[in-house]
Symmetry: C2
Subunit: 159 residues, 2 copies
């Protein structure tokens, strides 16, 4: 499969909503309502995005999330790594597992391994070349460092 997992897909939609909210801090609840992503799922996703530094979080009442970087500066590869962990093309190349005991029978004599590594690098570059901006994630309002007012929470995605 080369598909995005449902989680990554959700993350994309959530980020798209966040972008539309400018950079005002938005609670997970509102993001869920506005983007259509199930709330329980979303909170976990936002935790991943926070860890990866793609969004910033603020605790407490009036807390929430906001985009940490411009959509044009987040790559698809970056998002996938944030949600799904380190990527790989063939299993024997999973980071930190290459010389594990469970390695494939072919080991060093495998004729595919080296070329596959090359393909993986090209694929990674490809994914690094796709920004979220290209995926429809656009900041709709003039970017403000911090907004406290509720503004129009109007669900632009319209559930």
């Amino acid at each position: 499969m080369l598909a995005l997992t449902k989680k990554t897909d959700y993350a994309l939609v959530a980020l798209a909503y966040l972008a539309r909210r400018g950079r005002s801090v938005t609670s997970s609840r509102e993001i869920a309502a506005g983007s259509g992503v199930p709330c329980a799922m979303l909170t976990n996703i936002l935790k991943c995005l926070t860890h990866a530094g793609l969004v910033t979080s603020e605790r407490g009442s009036r807390g929430g999330y906001a985009l940490a970087v411009e959509p044009g500066d987040i790559t698809l590869h970056c998002l996938m790594t944030a949600i799904e962990g380190p990527s790989h093309v063939v299993r024997c190349m999973i980071p930190g597992q290459s010389d594990a005991g469970s390695a494939c029978l072919l080991e060093k004599s495998c004729p595919v391994r080296e070329p596959a590594k090359n393909v993986y690098n090209r694929l990674r570059k490809f994914l690094e070349g796709i920004s979220l901006a290209e995926l429809g994630v656009r900041v709709s309002q003039p970017v403000v460092t911090r907004v406290d007012s509720d503004q129009s929470p109007a669900s632009l995605v319209g559930i």
Copy 2:
């Protein structure tokens, strides 16, 4: 995940072995022994490859498989489709399921869907641009239409 499944990985290794055997008809048993792919698994994989027209099969004693096309003419996308079925980037774009009742809540208002389709097309083109030849699958002997002798079955992959 953007990884190949283990099956696709196996298919690659099996095709690499087949290519090294020129175009002589080779039994699944020998391919298994020579490539290191578990035999039971391999037979299923070879069925897929046959359906997809990547290899030809011959039944009966003395039967077996042979490459149907040049490694340079088989693309990674083609192989993945043969083993894993039709690909997609986001679930709502799975072929023939786009308007199913189980569609995502966002439906037509989803801001990600259209751009994702675009990315999918680019990704597909990328995968279509990678031939098995680039993945280390090389025909090692002058291509012969049919060889009956056993030749040197020497495991070139060396288990």
